[in-house]
Symmetry: C2
Subunit: 441 residues, 2 copies
């Protein structure tokens, strides 16, 4: 039986890409896969895929080539290096779909190299980064932020829809990747914030399971908190998602935010997340699950404290005054500052519709409760300052109290401290001196 479906080449058969490629096979596409690591190719063949010896082989005679290799360097190599690269194999007018997360500028560069260096202006390039993790990759229910010429996206519809549960159209080339970058600002800040919060709960001797459940029932929840905190509660340090992965994305986020000298965006929270991740790198955690970063916040001899405290029978003690609600306040404060930062970043980068960005983040791994609660009320004004956020005053005040409780016990809370400064700066704009400071003279 011959399938009417287009044929597909695929590179990058790892945790994400392997699931995506096998899902295409399961849905009747003829897929030829390539990976530099042979065991991954073997598994793909077991699932019904065809093996290719080189990128060129995988690209020859296919209608679409999907890349899910790790980064921009691997993509550049895949497309252009040597005689066995994709651009030497892909037929006239065929389509290269970039699903990896790379910097927005890289897409512009790729298009140019295809046109000029490779002499292949006929190759259609689609910028389609994905979000959702390995389970949704295997299920074909990823969020895909597709961008490129409309006609080329229309033609690729069958392949893209097979891989996605939420397929968004973001505009021209690089807009898909911009969307992913903005989304990853929240993913990056939410992940490290989960560690900061759970580390605090354990440090002050709260029952961490109870804290977890309390957070989940509150505005302080985030996709990443709900996903990562359980690893901490079980002291399960299996690398479901290694620090190396979110570090790479954080690097892209902060690199895109710093832009060029004259066109930088002050991403306070993303930068704080970045240098906290780098402390994890210094502590040798690059290949560990990113949830293990909670150990940065704990004494070295107490790395499993969140897990130990998940079954502890504890009574609340008053001296540090840190309760389940303090953890909620800390999370809400950071999440709100990060949410406003992400939307400001979206505006700074340009070209992305803010209401659509809101919708995307609401359904994706970068989601947090404060995003849902606060961003809709700010969309019309499109001013992304905490000074223009209705919830900021109360959330900022509670964050301030939480930060003070951390300070009293010398608990490091870089995300909370950085967020608090953003609240403080926002309250300065246009205000008169407070009665406290003036009256005190």
């Amino acid at each position: 039986m011959t399938s009417n479906k287009p044929t597909v080449g695929f590179a990058g058969l790892g945790a994400m890409g392997g699931g995506m490629a096998k899902n295409l096979v399961k849905n009747g596409f003829a897929v030829t896969g390539f990976d530099v690591y042979q065991p991954l190719v073997d598994k793909f063949v077991e699932a019904g895929g065809k093996a290719a010896k080189t990128p060129k082989d995988a690209a020859t005679d296919v209608d679409f080539f999907v890349s899910m290799v790790a980064n921009k360097e691997q993509n550049a190599s895949l497309l252009f290096d040597g005689e066995d690269c994709v651009s030497k194999g892909l037929g006239k007018g065929k389509t290269f779909i970039l699903c990896s997360t790379t910097p927005p500028n890289f897409l512009i560069e790729l298009r140019k190299r295809l046109d000029e260096e490779a002499g292949r202006p006929d190759i259609k390039l689609l910028d389609c980064p994905v979000s959702g993790g390995t389970i949704r990759a295997a299920d074909g229910t990823l969020s895909i932020f597709s961008s490129g010429p409309d006609g080329d996206l229309d033609a690729a519809k069958d392949v893209l829809e097979c891989m996605s549960g939420n397929l968004y159209r973001m505009g021209g080339i690089s807009n898909g990747t911009k969307t992913k970058t903005i989304h990853q600002l929240l993913a990056a800040t939410n992940i490290i914030t989960a560690s900061e919060a759970m580390g605090l709960a354990a440090t002050v001797g709260l029952n961490t399971q109870a804290v977890f459940e309390h957070v989940q029932s509150s505005d302080a929840d985030s996709f990443m908190f709900s996903n990562r905190a359980p690893h901490m509660l079980k002291s399960d340090w299996h690398p479901y998602s290694a620090l190396a992965i979110i570090l790479k994305d954080t690097y892209i986020v902060t690199d895109t935010a710093r832009g060029t000298l004259g066109d930088s965006f002050p991403a306070a929270l993303a930068n704080t997340a970045h240098y906290t991740y780098l402390q994890g790198v210094q502590a040798g955690m690059m290949k560990d699950d990113d949830a293990k970063l909670v150990q940065l916040y704990l004494p070295e001899s107490q790395g499993d404290l969140v897990g130990e405290m998940s079954t502890a029978d504890v009574k609340m003690n008053s001296s540090h005054q840190i309760s389940k609600d303090t953890i909620v306040d800390l999370l809400c404060g950071i999440h709100l500052a990060a949410s406003v930062e992400a939307m400001g970043f979206c505006k700074h980068l340009g070209g992305i519709d803010r209401p659509l960005m809101y919708e995307i983040i609401s359904k994706a791994a970068g989601w947090n409760g404060m995003f849902t609660k606060s961003i809709p009320g700010m969309l019309e004004k499109d001013s992304w300052s905490l000074a223009d956020c209705a919830q900021a005053e109360e959330v900022g005040r509670k964050l301030s109290e939480a930060v003070e409780k951390c300070r009293k016990i010398n608990y490091p809370c870089p995300m909370a401290a950085a967020a608090l400064q953003q609240f403080n700066f926002s309250t300065l704009r246009d205000k008169k001196l407070t009665s406290l400071s003036r009256g005190d003279r």
Copy 2:
């Protein structure tokens, strides 16, 4: 009368370069100058220099070519763009001395482009960034961080010594620029910290002149504090040194610290300084003196408050408990964390002798009192963590109290808050849980 001194070409006759070039003329060198802005060339001719119409003209028949143009882009253009560039004019075996501040990697790139692209491996390239400001530029008393092949540095001795009061040899190409980058980490953090401190003093109604004098007589002083605070005290917003200049250097510092994905240095204080400068850019201060950044910390209607409070007759009031000593504690805490960060950055970049780096910073614009007080005791161990700093416990405790006083009045103190987290992280390493947190269960 013919001079025995070598002839010099010079590009970039602005505030720094103009003074350097005229100082060479004053000392008997025959200097041919080029600048894209004709009035600067005219002034240089009035001072006895020769005018060149193009970079090539300025480079023809000279022994040394000194560049003090603004940045790497201008230097690349100066050397390589078009038919009138320096590499088309400079004679065989002559020397190009780069005095501008550029990223360390740029020097490596320049050498390669000279060798390969321009076919000029004969041109000697010296990497000699400077520090010290316009007065020392004109006096020929700059600090110069020279690097390159020893023989080439020997041959350039007359020119370099004429421009410098402190001439350091840092090793091979790019080490001079690394040294400048490490130094600028402290310059950048010290400048914004001066604003954070003086803004606080004014906000709580202290006599700011008295605070200034108190700081200068304490360990909290820095070259930048002593230089910038007087501008604030006089509400003198003349752009002696524009935000654009320190922003450019901060960009180089954080860019060099982020390095590549797998080789980043977590420069918490430098990154915090950077995104605070970016808030200044957003507030439209790019061309303003960097001391004007104190207005970020003040209500919009109170931009001259530091000046107004310099003559105020005030009594200390107890409710916010912020005194002259609180300002000292805040400065000392930030300066110590930044000093340790700078030396850690030095170690991370490699190739620079740490005792020499200590000596350089002690005499240059990046100096602060805590650097002098704390770094010598840490040199032998060469471990650049606050955990290995004898003064950290006391300084951190006092910083913590200062941060709390800021929090109570919602005063934004991003540098202090970021520094405090570094102290908190350092006290976590190897310690048992504190009696406070364990005892509270």
